[in-house]
């Protein structure tokens, strides 16, 4: 009797887990930027809920310790081994499930790694905590890297790391449903309507955009920027200025009005979020999907034929501009092996083959020009992702960005759901953000 009961439980548990994996698996992909508001937050949930995760413990016998997330650690391992062999040192790559948080915590207690792999928008926080070391790239190396990538590694006029990949969102379309790439929103909607009519009910959504009940500022920004709005103004040297908040500027409100109209016509919905957008697109329910390289895998697996193009222009406004996210190597300010760490990131991680390997594994255009040219020649995706990001600005790396995610996301969600008007919602968000920044 008891054994049979246990058997039944044993059968049920994997089924339940598989169910949950299906519904939540798609959120993991966007490693850096789009989730930065929530990723830092969810990491702080009580330890009891995350028994399998936890920060790595620094390997004390190693000459160089690198922390990276699971995907990146897998790519790095091979090159770390080769670097170790070349220099007869022991290099260890350790997997951290939340590099940003683990690095901050471990560095404060002096047990952190020498090198981490992460996103550029963590920089402001690392600098104010004295956690990362400036790195002088030199003119030669700087010239070999994409200028936008180098720009993103700078904070207050100092360079703090070595970029290896760029990522941004673009317009993904299901080529079976939408054969031509639209350049304007009106074309997009017309094509979507045609696809819907032709499919006989199978296509339910015109355009997928991850909004959710609390909104998503990362995906709201391009609509604001298209109409001349945005989040922060820039100083003369190109740095973002936390004192110039553009959330309720005329341009931002204009962009928000377009979001409101799309919400009213049921094109956008707060019921589409990070947990279901990938699977809806992979199921062929929508001809268009605004997202990044991390969202491609599900469609690929489902055998959907897709193409990537730049985001369309909005009626009465310009082209939608995404945020650029830069993936980079940081050297810890408390690195016990600073010399090796700097050597590794400046001379080894900037090699052609290394950056190509990162592309092969992660689908992001490399930051090294020669590597980019090589992969762009053979891979139409990478070229398309890159072109979707041309002219885009890096996501702000100033700490003030932390206080933008919540209010701006909510303002976008409320405008789309019709709970609020653009003017009221974005005025309120502006007020919240300015107050939060003033509080420090």
């Amino acid at each position: 009797m008891h054994r049979r009961a246990i058997g039944a439980v044993a059968l049920m548990v994997p089924a339940a887990l598989a169910m949950s994996a299906c519904s939540s698996g798609s959120t993991g992909g966007s490693s850096s930027s789009s989730t930065s508001s929530t990723s830092s937050a969810s990491a702080t949930t009580p330890a009891a809920t995350s028994t399998t995760t936890g920060a790595p413990v620094r390997d004390t016998t190693a000459d160089l310790v690198i922390w990276a997330d699971n995907d990146r650690a897998a790519v790095l391992q091979k090159y770390a081994d080769a670097f170790g062999k070349e220099n007869s040192v022991k290099v260890v790559v350790q997997v951290s499930t939340d590099v940003r948080k683990d690095f901050s915590a471990a560095t404060q207690t002096g047990n952190g790694p020498d090198v981490i792999v992460g996103a550029h928008d963590w920089l402001g926080e690392f600098v104010q905590n004295g956690a990362v070391e400036p790195i002088n790239l030199g003119a030669d190396l700087t010239a070999k890297l994409l200028p936008s990538a180098v720009a993103a590694t700078r904070f207050n006029g100092q360079t703090y790391g070595v970029p290896y990949a760029i990522e941004n969102i673009g317009l993904i379309r299901n080529t079976a449903l939408a054969p031509t790439a639209p350049t304007t929103l009106d074309q997009l909607l017309a094509e979507a309507t045609a696809a819907k009519a032709k499919s006989g009910g199978k296509v339910t959504n015109s355009l997928l955009l991850q909004v959710g009940k609390t909104g998503n500022a990362y995906f709201t920004y391009p609509w604001l920027k298209a109409c001349g709005g945005g989040i922060f103004g820039q100083k003369a040297n190109g740095d973002y200025d936390p004192k110039q908040v553009l959330i309720n500027s005329a341009g931002s409100i204009k962009g928000a009005t377009i979001l409101q109209q799309l919400g009213q016509s049921k094109v956008l919905s707060t019921n589409v979020d990070g947990t279901n957008a990938d699977s809806l697109f992979a199921a062929g329910k929508a001809p268009f999907y605004i997202s990044g390289p991390w969202s491609i895998d599900a469609a690929k697996k489902a055998g959907i034929k897709y193409a990537i193009s730049p985001l369309p222009s909005l009626p009465g406004c310009g082209k939608m501009q995404p945020f650029l996210g830069i993936q980079m190597f940081y050297v810890s300010a408390k690195a016990k092996n600073k010399a090796l760490a700097e050597e590794f990131v400046t001379n080894y991680m900037t090699r052609d083959d290394v950056q190509t390997a990162f592309f092969t594994a992660l689908n992001r255009p490399p930051a090294l020009k020669t590597a980019y040219d090589k992969v762009a020649a053979t891979n139409p995706d990478v070229k398309a992702w890159y072109e979707a990001g041309v002219g885009a600005l890096p996501m702000p790396n100033i700490p003030a960005m932390n206080s933008v995610w919540g209010p701006l996301g909510q303002a976008g969600a409320d405008v789309i759901s019709g709970k609020s008007t653009p003017k009221a919602a974005f005025d309120a968000a502006q007020k919240d953000i300015v107050a939060a920044i003033a509080k420090g």
């Binding site: 009797m1 929530t38 220099n87 040192v89 030199g138």
Partner: protein, 541 residues
């Protein structure tokens, strides 16, 4: 009873220790087997070694308070276990140490943090902040070459301690230099060999260091070859160097920083800000004591005052409804499955415990997707069109439903255990006295059950009062309105405090600690009154 878990941990520890304890024979004379004595002294020796190792590490770090504490613990262990006296303490000490480490220390730490400005942007000491600002201001001197570099020591000096020399090659004209702490000297090219990139591989009179040897030199990280006033050649990795200049300098006498344009910065609120009040300061701040400022912030902040009452009411309702709903469902199922006539009880019980066996955060995420208005299972099955996570009342219902699913198995287990402990003779007595099943339940079973589970209900209340992970994963405290993105419809005090303190511009741990102290007092007062009431139940026994 309610502290069963803690008691178990304690008694386990006591059991472990007691293996090395004297065995007291029934006759009253004390005989100790030789192996027990040996084991005892070995364990003591081990504890001593671990302690001494810890002390050594603490001395390296300069933490004298730590040394004192570890020393005191070691002496206590020795005093208690090496003699035959203090028998009660032999049993109590492990528990006391655990209490100290797991309960007292976090409390002390939280309270002490509440009086500081500790948080992102204020994690360094003042000296570290100044060092970081100066180090981060190093810029390449314009027009200087980027040298190819090898690291060497003078022949005859040991690689681990000899003076560092940077052997540099100017890439433009191929000139060799020898840079040391004395400065730059030209290096005669005779006998020097280099690679294509200009990196010197042999130089007469020098021993080149291997990458590992360079790496092991702790003085290499801060090494620079002085080349003039405020400038120096700094290595980048192992094979390149550049000439840099720190553009910011610190004057300890006046406690001011001066940048390249001569602008002065003075400390204010644990940060360096421009002396003239215009422009930006440096973002690297330091930790300092702020007294009661965090507490006054909580009391005076308009958003906090505005939201506190509504959140508090919902928080109490959430905890109370969660406990009652899970308890009644769990008890009902336990009563049903406690019937001796029911077959296949093991199977049913296993299935009912299932929600408990799946990690709570997985369940919460699954439920979140099931509550989706357009694509979720619940609306699809029931053909409703409820905006579960977008409407405040629907979201509250969603949270309570999910928590019922998550929580009833626990109550089911507890009630099953308690029911089986109720002797059947009292029920039989009731039956003989002519009580029907309902009357037996109400007058016999329930009171006896409540004696056992009453304290657990209070503990469960306290747990749900601070049920951060459920709210956070299901609704993130939302739904919010654009007019108020700080206070959500399902926010508990703890999620609200989290948003307030952690997810602002900079996570402010000092403020978070202060908020958690206040929440502690609220929960403590409510639990205390709860326990007072549950004492009344015990009179039944």
């Amino acid at each position: 009873m309610v502290w069963g878990r803690k008691g178990d941990a304690m008694s386990d520890a006591v059991k472990d220790r007691s293996r090395a304890q004297e065995v007291i024979s029934l006759k009253g004379t004390v005989t100790t087997p030789w192996w027990a004595v040996t084991a005892k002294w070995l364990l003591l020796l081990l504890a001593l070694l671990v302690g001494l190792f810890a002390v050594q590490r603490l001395i390296e770090k300069g933490s004298w308070l730590g040394v004192v504490i570890v020393g005191a613990i070691l002496m206590a262990i020795l005093a208690v276990y090496s003699t035959r006296r203090a028998i009660p303490l032999k049993y109590l000490l492990p528990g006391l140490l655990l209490l100290l480490g797991l309960q007292i220390w976090p409390v002390v730490y939280t309270v002490s943090t509440a009086f500081t400005n500790y948080g992102f942007g204020h994690v360094l000491t003042k000296q570290q902040a100044i060092d970081a600002i100066v180090a981060n201001s190093v810029q390449e001197v314009p027009g200087t070459p980027r040298y190819a570099m090898s690291v060497a020591v003078k022949k005859g000096t040991p690689p681990s301690t000899g003076d560092i020399h940077l052997l540099l090659t100017d890439p433009q004209n191929g000139t060799f230099f020898d840079g040391s702490k004395e400065g730059m000297k030209k290096l005669s090219p005779t006998g020097v060999q280099k690679t294509d990139s200009g990196k010197i591989t042999t130089a007469p009179g020098f021993t080149l260091l291997t990458p590992r040897e360079v790496n092991q030199r702790k003085d290499f990280g801060d090494f620079a070859v002085p080349t003039g006033k405020g400038t120096g050649i700094k290595p980048v990795g192992l094979s390149q160097a550049f000439e840099g200049r720190a553009t910011v300098s610190y004057d300890a006498k006046t406690d001011t920083l001066t940048d390249g344009n001569g602008k002065q910065y003075v400390p204010k609120d644990a940060m360096f800000v421009p002396k003239n009040g215009h422009g930006d300061g440096f973002s690297q701040g330091w930790t300092e004591n702020v007294g009661f400022r965090n507490f006054t912030t909580i009391l005076s902040d308009p958003t906090i005052r505005k939201g506190f009452l509504s959140i508090f009411i919902w928080n109490v309702a959430f905890a109370a409804v969660s406990v009652l709903s899970t308890f009644f469902l769990g008890m009902l199922l336990a009563l049903l499955l406690n019937d001796p006539r029911l077959r296949g009880k093991g199977l049913y019980r296993s299935l009912l415990i299932l929600p408990y066996a799946i990690p709570g955060f997985v369940t919460a995420l699954v439920w979140a997707s099931m509550f989706n208005q357009d694509y979720g299972l619940i609306n699809n099955l029931t053909h409703l069109n409820i905006d579960w996570l977008g409407n405040a009342w629907a979201a509250r219902a969603a949270v309570l439903i999910t928590n019922l699913w998550l929580g009833f198995p626990y109550m089911f287990i507890v009630c099953t255990g308690a029911l089986q402990a109720i002797p059947s003779d009292v029920k039989e007595a009731a039956l003989i006295d002519g009580a029907n099943a309902f009357r037996t339940l109400r007058s016999i079973t329930m009171p006896l059950l409540l004696v056992a589970v009453g304290p657990l209900l209070i503990a469960s209340f306290a747990f749900n009062f601070n049920n951060f992970s459920l709210i956070f994963l299901l609704t993130s405290g939302g739904p919010f309105t654009a007019a108020n993105t700080q206070i959500g419809g399902t926010d508990l005090l703890i999620t609200y405090a989290y948003r307030l303190a952690i997810s602002g511009v900079n996570p402010n741990y000092g403020l978070a600690a202060a908020v958690s102290i206040i929440i502690f007092f609220i929960v403590a007062v409510m639990s205390w009154s709860g326990f007072r009431r549950s004492k009344a139940l015990e009179d039944i026994n």
